[in-house]
């Protein structure tokens, strides 16, 4: 196990370095941030002063070297706009985004697995066909459009739920959390559901496919031949087997939940990392953009590692293969 983790960590470090180069050089091809900070009445000397202050006068490979050396020490540069550490800005906004992503993940599991199970166990029933049709909608409707429609229906027309902000938050170990207050929960509901919609559809389809396949397996028939109750067969024999692919995919999708929250956060004015990213792109705040992308890469790397570990806990065959080494 430890050899496995060590090898994975090394691979992860290489991925991070590769991503850093791509992101850094990529962002330098887009626009010149200096012009975001100068006013029309400034003369050339002033502009050069600003350029020097931002460190943009040096050749790009020198900038890259400076970026990499400080990045290894955990410093991803200063935001041009806020004058603060870019990483610090992102970390500040991270709890809001993570809360949203976890809420969406929770909804995906709570709705996706039972609905998918039902659709898999009774594939010919009307309800199942409705579920599957719904999941196609969930897949194909664009997130931003659904978000706007949700605001229209639930906030504007019905007036049931608020449409912007986090609402009242509770401070837990220095982290602001919305879901612990009723007001916060109401604020969380719409954006979380909006973000979860795609994942609910995904989990429904995965669970249904897994269920239909597993129900034909001999071990299910053998379990029936033992005289087990249907709830035991479905709840233990079936669920434990189909959970393996579902956990793998959901884990990997968690990264994309965080990444996708850019759209949802913008629509619902949720003060998270995604909203910060959009603002930074508009202002060409390069260090923040780079830091955000590095953060997302880091998140994916960590999630992949965790998924592998959880997977080995769920599937005894994976465990043994590793021990046998």
């Amino acid at each position: 196990m430890s050899v496995f983790i060590l090898r994975r960590l090394l691979q992860s470090a290489l991925v991070m370095v590769a991503m850093a180069s791509i992101v850094f050089f990529g962002i330098h091809m887009v626009g010149d941030p200096v012009y975001m900070f100068v006013s029309p009445d400034m003369d050339q000397a002033d502009i050069e002063k600003v350029t020097r202050a931002l460190g943009l006068d040096r050749p790009i490979w020198e900038q890259f070297w400076a970026f990499m050396t400080s990045a290894i020490q955990g410093d991803l540069g200063q935001s041009f706009v806020f004058g603060e550490s870019a990483l610090g800005l992102i970390v500040q906004r991270m709890p809001a985004t993570l809360e949203l992503a976890f809420a969406a993940l929770f909804l995906a599991i709570v709705f996706g697995i039972p609905l998918g199970l039902y659709a898999g166990l009774y594939p010919d029933s009307k309800t199942s066909k409705t579920i599957m049709a719904g999941s196609i909608l969930g897949f194909s409707l664009p997130t931003f459009w659904v978000g706007i429609m949700m605001i229209m229906v639930f906030a504007v027309v019905l007036g049931w739920l608020p449409s912007t902000g986090r609402g009242e938050t509770v401070d837990v170990f220095g982290i602001e959390l919305s879901f612990l207050t009723l007001d916060g929960l109401q604020h969380l509901a719409l954006p979380a559901l909006n973000l979860a919609l795609l994942k609910i559809s995904l989990v429904i389809r995965l669970t249904r496919a897994g269920t239909r396949e597993a129900m034909l397996q001999d071990y299910i028939k053998f379990a029936r031949a033992k005289g087990l109750s249907r709830s035991r067969i479905v709840g233990v024999h079936l669920l434990k087997n189909i959970l393996i692919p579902v956990v793998t995919v959901l884990g990997l999708e968690f990264g994309s939940l965080v990444a996708f929250s850019v759209v949802t956060e913008t629509i619902f004015a949720w003060p998270g990392m995604g909203k910060l990213l959009i603002e930074s792109i508009q202002q060409l705040d390069r260090p923040v953009i780079v830091a955000y992308l590095m953060m997302i890469v880091f998140l994916f790397v960590v999630i992949n590692l965790l998924v592998d570990i959880v997977y080995s806990l769920l599937d005894p065959r994976v465990r043994l293969a590793d021990r046998g080494n």
């Binding site: 033992k226 005289g227 434990k240 599937d315």
Partner: protein
């Protein structure tokens, strides 16, 4: 051998209602099984032997359905029982072992979980008591150090060991009858011999009755007391295993036996049955073997009844062979 039948099957019919038509997978099967007896159910693929087994377990899935006949287990009629009643019977009164031991145990559950749940599905016993019974069952089928094996996962067992575990699970609630669907087909011959030995011992010791579904005549010859040969959903011949294998009455049984290579017939060309098994969707009227039968004539357009050829044997044929005819025709090739 005691004569009281523990299982009586009469005119059992299981049909599959598919889009292409009705497939009569089992079409009027009758047999009975005494305590401690092993009945070999023989036939080629698609002859309905596995569906017969599933019908006895109430495990026929749609579009299939038991449409007629009667199954009496220790005097109790099973056909028409509710799913709830079936559930309580399965694993307790009648158990089943499947063909592929690699597939029958759930890969993500430990062996003890899978054994204890089988006991506790039918009885309110403590987990410790159930575990003790599971341990004893493993020991009984010849699994060494059962305590360690209980906490192992199925993939840590070899194929033969897994089949022993499956047999141990079938034995857990001391059923009256075990339906074994080709349980040794996927195993190599030495393991097969060990399993057959254990099964024979169990039946002799406990009075357990067994239906052994197979296409392997050698296994039937070594294990079964009686044999029933199935063709296209019907039993075409049945009787004591030695008599049937030595002097088959039905041309199909002769064909089956003739197509098996055997030690005492070295150098002889194997006979084969011409043609192929008919589609169950479009069975010809009359004897379903007639199209492949060297003895068929006009009479065979009428379905022959299963008639008794002696007090212990039955055959479904208008032109049966004599029991004393040599099993192999032609001799030289």
């Amino acid at each position: 051998m005691s004569k009281s039948p523990v299982l009586e099957v009469e005119d059992l019919k299981t049909h599959f209602f598919t889009k292409a038509g009705v497939a009569r997978a089992v079409d009027g099967v009758s047999f009975s099984l005494a305590r401690g007896e092993v009945l070999g159910l023989v036939g080629e693929s698609g002859s309905g032997k596995t569906v017969t087994g599933f019908s006895l377990m109430g495990l026929v899935d749609p579009p299939g359905r038991v449409v007629g006949g009667s199954i009496r287990l220790a005097g109790e009629e099973l056909v028409g029982k509710s799913e709830r009643d079936w559930r309580s019977l399965r694993g307790r009164k009648i158990a089943m072992i499947f063909q592929d031991p690699m597939m029958t145990l759930n890969p993500v559950l430990r062996v003890d979980t899978q054994m204890i749940e089988a006991i506790r599905a039918h009885e309110h016993v403590s987990e410790e008591a159930a575990r003790e019974r599971a341990r004893a069952a493993l020991a009984r089928v010849g699994i060494p150090s059962p305590d360690e094996r209980l906490v192992a996962y199925p993939h840590q067992f070899s194929g033969g060991m897994r089949q022993r575990v499956a047999i141990a699970i079938a034995l857990l609630n001391e059923p009256e009858v075990i339906v074994a669907d080709e349980p040794t087909t996927a195993l190599d011959v030495t393991i097969q011999a060990q399993i057959l030995y254990e099964v024979q011992k169990l039946c002799a010791e406990t009075g357990l009755a067994m239906i052994w579904i197979t296409h392997d005549l050698a296994v039937v010859g070594g294990l079964a007391d009686r044999v029933a040969v199935m063709y296209a959903g019907r039993i075409v011949e049945e009787g004591p295993v030695g008599e049937v294998l030595d002097g088959p009455l039905h041309p199909y049984t002769r064909g089956l036996i003739g197509s098996v290579p055997s030690h005492n017939q070295r150098g002889r060309r194997l006979t084969q049955i011409p043609g192929m098994a008919p589609s169950l969707l479009a069975l010809p009227p009359g004897c379903s073997f007639a199209a492949r039968c060297p003895r068929a004539d006009a009479a065979c357009t009428q379905m022959p009844e299963l008639v008794s050829a002696s007090d212990r044997r039955g055959v479904r044929c208008h032109h049966p062979h004599r029991p004393d005819e040599p099993a192999y025709e032609g001799g030289s090739a």
